[in-house]
């Protein structure tokens, strides 16, 4: 594949040399130290405070965005209830505190959000938070499955590519994987979704293209699980494929770098079998950047879900965001945005903690 040539052609034929500036020593050579639990607790607390601050900032941003939205909130609310009486608008204005100074309004708004009052969707006739929480499980299911799909397949393909990089016979495999990743990297995911629908649903009729389960089938137990699983396949591939391409590149580059390091040469020299070298020495060290990245990715999946859920009619918060867009339901739109941001913050925090547990070399202090 010609698309792979810039990458495969750019690197030299011999094994990459370890650069003296590498910022980490191999995990194998370091005795695992017991992480002081105080330091861990302090670390988690600091992350927690930072995460809460980020979410509060999003709330403040939301407050200003809703004021930027077209139309005065009071007249919109009056319009929603079918009245344009100026007295009524004025009454709403006082009722919702829109006549008070801006800082007071902001404080009221932030306090409301903190107390789980996320506004009311006049289109859906339900509180925003309830709407979002109803849809959240579907999105979490989709995100989880897309995450597992992208990580496992990405690492698998990345390892294969790096293993075949310097083998004369199977080098085409490396070029194929790298080229495929490059193509996938440039593909708009909503378009890929449509292509998959045309191929797997319209032409072959293998997989359902819409919704989360067969409407009106009344399935229960395992047959329902199976039904949801078949509905999950296309959205999972659609949402996960871009990130899978990223994992392929990341794993491959990281593997190739670690493979050239001295401790790997030592392991080979003392006669460890090649598969064991890869598994025990190379992969373990090469996966660290992948762990870091996976935390970032898990959060970004929440944003990408808007496109996937829209195309596949998946009843999650991404689809809810699209509906809110179509109906100009700004309260709901910003509610979904807030929850998505909160999810990113939580996932980032979890990754940070996991990363430090996985890799004891990283100090708990500072570490920006």
């Amino acid at each position: 594949m010609s698309a792979g040539s810039p990458i495969t052609g750019a690197a030299p034929a011999q094994a990459p040399k370890a650069t003296p500036t590498l910022d980490h020593t191999p995990a194998q050579s370091v005795l695992p130290q017991r992480v002081p639990s105080m330091a861990l607790a302090r670390f988690i607390l600091a992350k927690l405070v930072k995460g809460v601050l980020v979410v509060l900032c999003v709330v403040v941003v939301n407050f200003f965005l809703i004021r930027l939205a077209p139309g005065d909130p009071a007249s919109i609310m009056a319009g929603e209830s079918g009245s344009s009486d100026p007295n009524y608008v004025a009454q709403l204005r006082t009722q919702f505190g829109l006549d008070r100074p801006l800082p007071v309004q902001m404080a009221t708004y932030v306090l409301g959000v903190v107390r789980f009052d996320w506004g009311f969707s006049y289109r859906m006739k339900l509180p925003v938070l309830q709407l979002i929480l109803d849809r959240l499980p579907a999105t979490l299911l989709l995100m989880g499955s897309a995450f597992v799909f992208s990580v496992l397949l990405g690492i698998f393909l990345g390892v294969i590519a790096s293993r075949t990089r310097y083998t004369g016979r199977r080098r085409w495999l490396d070029s194929l994987i790298v080229g495929g990743a490059l193509l996938l990297y440039a593909t708009p995911l909503f378009w890929l979704s449509l292509l998959m629908i045309v191929l797997f649903s319209v032409e072959l009729g293998w997989l359902p293209a819409f919704g989360m389960e067969t409407v009106g089938a009344g399935l229960t137990g395992w047959s329902r699980v199976l039904d949801i699983t078949t509905h999950l396949v296309l959205p999972t591939v659609s949402l996960g494929s871009f990130y899978m391409a990223m994992y392929v590149r990341l794993t491959r580059a990281s593997m190739l770098e670690v493979m050239g390091m001295d401790f790997v040469r030592t392991a080979r020299a003392k006669g460890v079998a090649a598969p064991a070298v890869i598994r025990r020495h190379v992969l373990r060290n090469a996966l660290l950047p992948v762990v870091t990245f996976s935390g970032i990715q898990l959060g970004q999946l929440a944003g990408g879900a808007v496109l996937t859920e829209t195309v596949f009619g998946w009843p999650g918060i991404g689809r809810l965001m699209f509906d809110a867009l179509m109906q100009r339901d700004y309260q709901l739109l910003l509610g979904v945005f807030l929850l998505t941001s909160a999810m990113v913050v939580v996932f980032n925090m979890l990754t940070d903690v996991i990363y430090r547990v996985v890799d004891p070399r990283i100090a708990f202090e500072g570490g920006r």
Binding site: A3, V54, P70, V178, L183, V198, M321, F337
Partner: protein, 280 residues
């Protein structure tokens, strides 16, 4: 410079990318000559298949609009938005990163907290919300894409400034009393340009993808034909006329692929010492 050009041209992928991008650019510039009618105009029978009618080689959509014209005018929008939003994001990123890296201290702390904040919140969701609230237009789309894409540039520039600030030639400039602004612009920035150029080239590709996603969701500028809009509009006809969504998607794919290839070529050519690390 000649060394750079030679290294870049030796990279077949980068050259291929350059050629694809040049072709798309020519079509975009020549769109009014190739297709004098507006891409929104109904010019022929609806749903002409591609490669059937010599006059409409790309076929027509469900309203009889020429898909070829849509592709050509869509190229203008995609390239323009990609370039302008990246330019805005890079300028903002340089300003913020330079201020943080050069001054250090509390300025650095504050600016980096802001940068981290923008890097944390989900980019696509933020762009969707911004365009929806500011009402869809070329201006709001460019602004939204720029707002979600400047943080990596700021971090990069800050890092470069932090290390370059300590170098002798910068110290010398400080000693002879050059104004800090002048030091940043004429001493430090030129030495930090390579990574900025590489990042910027890849940002154009991301910006084009984001724009297509926005217009697919119905958040495009209503006055401008765009590839994402064409795919979004053809969704309902997916069964009957899959070519309608196929072609604009291929256009996006080719453009983004070409820019990514160029970006990687630039990376290899500007960082020759990195090429031997087996990295891509």
């Amino acid at each position: 410079m000649s060394g750079f050009a030679r290294r870049f041209l030796r990279n077949t992928g980068a050259v291929a990318g350059l050629m694809i991008l040049a072709a798309i650019l020519v079509v975009a510039l020549a769109a009014p000559l190739l297709f004098p009618d507006s891409p929104w105009m109904m010019v022929a029978d609806p749903l002409i298949l591609p490669f059937q009618d010599g006059q409409y080689p790309f076929g027509t959509d469900m309203l009889g609009r020429d898909i070829g014209a849509g592709l050509a005018y869509g190229a203008r929008v995609s390239l323009m938005i990609g370039a302008v939003s990246t330019a805005v994001a890079v300028l903002a990123g340089i300003a913020i990163g330079a201020a943080a890296g050069y001054h250090g201290g509390w300025v650095d702390d504050l600016l980096m907290r802001v940068t981290e904040f923008f890097q944390t919140i989900p980019q696509l969701a933020m762009a969707v919300v911004l365009v929806a609230i500011l009402t869809p237009s070329i201006g709001s789309i460019v602004a939204a894409i720029a707002i979600v894409s400047w943080p990596p540039v700021a971090r990069l520039v800050r890092g470069e400034f932090l290390t370059l600030r300590e170098r002798e030639f910068v110290q010398a400039a400080v000693v002879i009393g050059q104004h800090p602004g002048r030091i940043m612009l004429t001493q430090i920035l030129p030495n930090a340009m390579s990574p900025i150029i590489i990042t910027a080239s890849l940002m154009v590709a991301t910006a084009i993808l984001t724009e297509s996603a926005l217009s697919f969701l119905g958040l495009g500028d209503r006055n401008m034909m765009s590839w994402g809009f064409m795919i979004g509009a053809s969704r309902t006809m997916l069964r009957e006329a899959p070519w309608m969504s196929l072609m604009p998607g291929v256009a996006i794919l080719l453009t983004v692929l070409a820019i990514n290839l160029i970006g990687e070529g630039l990376n290899d050519a500007l960082n020759p010492q990195l090429r031997h690390r087996g990295e891509d």
